[in-house]
Amino acid sequence: MNRRDFLKSLGAGTLATAAIAAGCDSPNKTQAEGFELGEVPTDQMTYRTGTHGEKVSVLGYGQMRLPTVEEGNRDSDLDQDRINELTDYALSHGVNLFDTAPRYCKARSEAAIGIALSRHNRDEYLISTKLSNMSPDTLSFEGSKAMFEESLRRLQTDHVDFYMLHCVGLPCKGVDGETMDPMTAFKVRFEENGMLDWLMEQRKLGRIRNLGFSYHGDVKVFDYALSLHGKVHWDHVLIQHNYINWQHAGDLAEDGDSGDANSEYLYGQLAERNIPIFVMEPLLGGQLANLPQFAVDELKRRAPNQSLASWAFRFAANQPRILTVLSGMTYMEHLQDNIRTLSPHKPLSEDELKMLADIANRYAGMSLVPCTGCQYCMPCPYGLDIPGIFAHYNKMLNEGNAIKDLAEDASSEERRAYRKARRAYLKNYNKAVDPDRQAEHCIACGRCLSECPQQINIPRQMAMIEKLG
């Protein structure tokens, strides 16, 4: 809300109104007219067509980062009033796809969005949710089926427009508590229990309109799932895609860990088979909105008043087979900015693509931790705030406050700079993460290892970050 709008809506302050009127006539027409950014368009959204002719807004509303009552505390209750308001705003500005999953927001997302959406007609919106059967008690046919039925109940509907097998390519724990490798996990979760066949039946019955899967991690499982295309006819697939992941997904992972495959490869495989693509993490968990200064300068040079995030959205939606770009928008300002960017989508020029590729090259060399803040690793049994610690570490690197090792023969100048950086680091660390929840409390139990979709070796990174402190 702009304060000028606020004044306008109050109808108060004749002075302000007079200034607005004067501003319209004067050659110096700017702020007084309202604001430089202009109104948020309601009817300019770009739509793309799904496998069965659905018109899907190219901006999809991800429900993994819903607002909470207590600002900044993701453990506190979801703020249903704000969720309702954001949902209404999205719908009235052309966003018609809402993507959730049973485990989002500590298993509260589906119910919350169910409440918000059921206040509208069912034909005004499309729902996407997933089969998150990765805990031992949901691996069975009955357990998985119950999860689907529970999703319908929470979402207050009789059909799901887009249903996905969740996190194909990641390991998970078996009924015996042992971790299964990604390929075995796929077979146990979807094939051997007959779940995939059952879901295809549900598609015939119209309870599922589109059947697909979401991919992270081991690319062999992605390839295997695609090899089933002849039998299953995947209607859509969800991949992680942004200008870093396009060619540098591997660089984001640590040595020895696989990480996702490059989205250039994934896109090529899916486009070849004509499978519409859902995009997740267009901002790499917000990182592409919080860029280091060299990237900020380069992007702002081209468009001073375009947000950093807008470039990432234009990139994510740039390819023709991309059906929708999912974004978890917690704040009204994010929603408005993204609607502006994609109403309508403005394709990137060759020159702009090259510039983003150059930024990606430099960015991938910065060795940031590729944490997207999904919170799957939480709660940590030892109380660490894992995503908070990584966010602080990345912020420090981005702002050029990295603590480099001090050489034995460092000059007094260097020592002073070192002390300053260290003080800044520690002060901000304590502010960002409660001292009881910092990296040093990690005992490397490894419980988080099989949970991380980005396959970050969390205990190893914690040991690295602890040394900085």
């Binding site: 702020q31 604001f35 950014l37 001073p304 300002e333 502010k431």
Partner: protein, 116 residues
Amino acid sequence: MAFDKGYCKTDCTRCSEVCPAGAIKKIDEIEKSAISIGHAVTVPQNCLLGQGVACNACSRHCPTGAITLVDDASTGHKVVAVNENTCIGCGACEHLCPVRPFSAIYVEGREVHTTV
């Protein structure tokens, strides 16, 4: 906030101390430095830089370093760039911008305050 009268100083928490109704949450200086109440938006056609005047009032006074002057890709002239993710919306830039009556940079408020 009326930024023509002043701006929200980073070391001041007076409003949170005096509010009798609890409508403004009590915060200390450290907390305040990380709270964003808006973000600045530039109005290039008002800016002195476009008229060849070497002004850097906004970037010099920005307490978070969110404002930089960059070379515009199309014209080569210096323009003001705001990093909307590090800006806290304090309004120092709007208040101290010499262009009047409508300054060349102004703050868009946030619906809900965020932490930077």
